[in-house]
Assembly symmetry: C2
Homo-oligomer: 137 residues x 2
DNA sequence: TCAGATATGATACCTAGTATCACTTTCTCA
DNA sequence: TGAGAAAGTGATACTAGGTATCATATCTGA
C-alpha cells in the first residue's frame, strides 16, 4: 500500500520535479500533519535536510499545489496540506485547527467587482478567524 | 485651515494618546499618501524619527483605526490610510493603487459559516489582487 | 559513460520587526 | 509652580524568517 507521502511524491514527479531523498523527508514530515505548520517546524523535524532546502521545497510544494499558504491573523506565514483547488480557510485561533471551505457567492462577488471597478482581477485571498466548536465548549 | 495631518493628530488625542513631535512627523509623511506603503518607507521619509518609534507609531495607528494593514500577494505587510470602518482592499499589482470596497454578501457568507461549521467567528481578512483600469489600458 | 541539468547543504547575508534601556518630555495634582 | 509619575523617544542590539551564493553531489538521457 502506498503511504500518503508516496502519493505526494508521485504528484511532484508528475509535474517534472525529481523525487529526491530531501523532498521525500519533507513530505514524510508534512503528510501526517492535520493543521497548519511553519517552514521552521519542518526544519526542526526534518533534521538531516538543510534549512535552505526546506524553504526551497516548501516553495515548490506551493507551486505544485500540494500545500497551500495560510496567513494567520498576526500576519505570520504557515502552510498546510491542500485538498482542493481553490478554497479558503477557517482557522481556529485556540487550537490551530483549519477547515477548508469554498464559497460560490464570493466568486460571484469578485465578478461583480470587475464590472463595478474596471479592475482585471487576478486573485484573491480570504482567511476567516475564530474558535472551533470544540474550543468553545 | 486644518491640514489632514492635524485632523489625524486630533483623532489620536481623542483616543488618549499624546500628540508628540515624532507622531506628528509620521502623520505628515503618511497623510498625503494615496496607495499603500511600508513602515520602512516611513522610516526613510521621517528622517529624524527613530526606527523603533516609527514601528511603534504604525502599530498605534492601526489600533486607533487611522491606518489599516494591507497584505500583498507575496505576504508582505503594507499600510494605508483608512477611510471606513470595516472594508476590504482591491490592490492593483501594477501601480499599487488601492481601492476600498465593502461587501454585504461577504458578511452574509461569514454568518452562514457559523451555522454550517459551529465556529465562533472573530474576524476575517480579504484582499483582492488585479490590475486597475488605467494599467490595463 | 559522461556532459549538462538539477538538487543539496553550509554559510553568510538580508529584511522586518522587537526588546532593552537610559534619557527626555509631558502631564497631574498637591 | 514644581516634583514625581507616566508616557514617549532613539540608539542599539537582537531575533526570526527567509534568500543568495557556491562548491559539491546526484540524476538523466543521448
Amino acid at each position: 500500500m502506498l503511504k500518503k507521502a508516496d502519493i505526494l511524491i508521485e504528484q511532484m514527479e508528475g509535474r517534472g520535479y525529481r523525487a529526491t531523498p530531501a523532498r521525500r523527508t519533507v513530505l514524510e514530515v508534512i503528510s501526517p500533519r492535520r493543521g497548519h505548520f511553519t517552514a521552521e517546524e519542518v526544519c526542526e523535524q526534518a533534521k538531516n535536510v538543510g534549512r535552505a532546502t526546506v524553504y526551497r521545497t516548501m516553495k515548490l510544494l506551493v507551486e505544485t499545489g500540494i500545500v497551500c499558504r495560510v496567513i494567520l491573523e498576526d500576519g505570520s506565514l504557515h502552510y498546510r496540506l491542500s485538498h482542493k483547488d481553490h478554497h479558503h480557510h477557517l482557522v481556529c485561533m485556540a487550537c490551530g485547527a483549519v477547515r477548508d471551505f469554498i464559497d460560490g457567492s464570493l466568486e460571484e462577488m469578485v465578478k461583480n467587482l470587475v464590472t463595478k471597478t474596471g479592475f482585471e482581477i487576478e486573485g484573491h485571498w480570504l482567511e476567516v478567524y475564530g474558535r472551533c466548536q470544540e474550543c468553545r465548549a
